[in-house]
Amino acid sequence: MVLKTLAWVLVAFCFLAAALGRGAMEQKSWNGFSMVLSFGLTAAFFLRGRVDDERVHSLKLKALGAAFLATYLLALKFQPHWPRMKPAPAMPATAYDFISATMLLALILFYFWRWQDARPAKDAE
C-alpha cells in the first residue's frame, strides 16, 4: 500500500513538473519525465491496493485489454506511412508516452468500472 501511494506521488510529481515547465520543456527533458511517468502509472496499476480480490483482478485485466487496444489504434494514427496522416508533431511520441497513455486509460477504466460495481441495480428497492 505504501508503494502504491509512492507510485501515485511519483505520477503527481511528473504531471506537476510537466505543467510547470510546459513552455521550456525540451525533448530530452520530456523523455525523462515520460519514463518516470510511465513507471509510476504502471506501478500504480499493478501494485496491490487496499482491496485485491478476484473481481479487482478481472476488472484490471479487462481495463488493460481495452486500454491497449485504444492506444494501439491511436499509435497507428501516428505511423508516418498512414495514408491520411497529419504532419508529425514537434515532439513525436515515444514508447514511454504510449505506455503512459495505456496505463492512464487502464486506470481510468478500472476505477470507473469499480465505481459502477458499487452502484445498486437500477430496479433495486
Binding site: 482491496v51 473481481r55 479487482v56 458499487a118
Partner: protein
Amino acid sequence: MKNCLKELRAEKNWSQGDLAERLEVSRQTINAIETEKYDPSLPLALKIAKLFKQPVEAIFKADAS
C-alpha cells in the same frame, strides 16, 4: 448467470459489507455478483455455498439462453 445471493443475505440480516467480510472479498464484488454483473470464480462460489449451507446449483443458475 442468475443468483439468489441477495435473498439469502436478507434472510440472515447481513449487509453487503457483512457478507463481504465473511467471504474475504470487497463490498463492490458482492454488489457486482448480486446485480449479475459478475459471475464468481469456482472457489468463491463454493465458499458462498458453504457459508449459506446450500449446494452451489441452488444459489447460482445458468441463464435460460
